[in-house]
Amino acid sequence: MVVKVFGPDYGNPKRVLVCLIEKGVEFETVPLDILKGENRAPEFLKLQPFGSVPVIQDGDYTLFESRAIARYYAEKYKHQGTDLLGKTIEERGLVEQWLEVEAQSYNPPINDLILKIVFGPLRGLTPDPKLIEESEEKLGKVLDIYEERLSKSKYLAGDFFSLADLSHLPLTQYLVGKVEKEYLIRDRKNASAWWDDISSRPSWKKVVELWPGLY
């Protein structure tokens, strides 16, 4: 039985897809149209009560929250594919630290830019330039800290690619795509090199090719 990942056309499910590919785990995808409100259908809410994507189904087992799903499969298949969690408890601690930074500091402003610039217009909404500027500033401050970190360390948690770096792929791809703010990355030398490195991994290239979504 192969694990099913719901909503591959959107950003957060891709966090799961790229993780599964890095771990060499087979999967299927189940499309969902959020604009049509398919995420609010009662059968879907039984799987994911918040009505968000992704959710996975592995036989009878379901799990939601992309970072929880990624951690689960990264641990379950620790001894196959890329080691995404570090080799020691301390390395794991740093992976968790930067994964939380992504979730708590990087994600909010970049997600706001994506919702306002990419998805809002699809619902007939025009973004408020002042609010866009605010989110861009917040994201810039976070990237300044990344720039400093990446001057001392090839990847966020250390000299190894980890779940922390991987977690940045899905939404940053929008930034260099339809959000049209690639300069936020390119203006920062170390962040730029890091982005080139992680986004050119075969796993990520495959995800972008097969599920281009609204990139």
Partner: protein, 218 residues
Amino acid sequence: MAAPVKVYGPPLSTAVSRVLACLLEKDVEFQLVPVNMAKGEHKKPDYLKIQPFGQVPAFQDESITIFESRAICRYICEKHADKGNKSLYSTNPLVKASIEQWLEAEGQSYNPPSSTLVFQLAFAPRVNIKQDEAQIKLNDQKLSKVLDIYDQRLESSRFLAGDEFTLADLSHLPNTHYLVTVGNRGEAFSSRKNVDRWWNEISSRDSWKKVVEMQKSK
């Protein structure tokens, strides 16, 4: 025997108190290192060396310095797996996955509206910042939707991740405590049967009572 671990920041901080509750559940000895936020100590170079975002908490033991309260909690539970409350962060893969699911739900769905409300209702008045009524209304609505989902979940589950109190529940203690006390949002919790039961149970744990005492004395 290892020296006590260090936690930087005031117990009044929700994120600091998250870590303190975890350390108390795990019976791990700690030392609280004050950071004078009123004087901007958290934005000064010495502190930024250990926490580059200028936030509290930061954590240090004999082998590492880490920040981000939820990451610190996970690290403490892994490093001291054999101490204190062992079911806080189960090593059983399926149980752990459920804990992670609800810990992420806390971080992504519960924390944004609840921390905004905590700031607006509990902290803004203290530092003479004018409350934003529109933000309060919007986040009350968001919180309400999340609590409806929690009430449904807790109908068939004693705690969020399952039968045991875990990191997922613990992570909700700091913001909720302020909401139901100084934030005057008790009714949002007491009006939902299962949320009410759950909140009463988790907030009466010895570890949380100790944290609340620490918050009063600083």
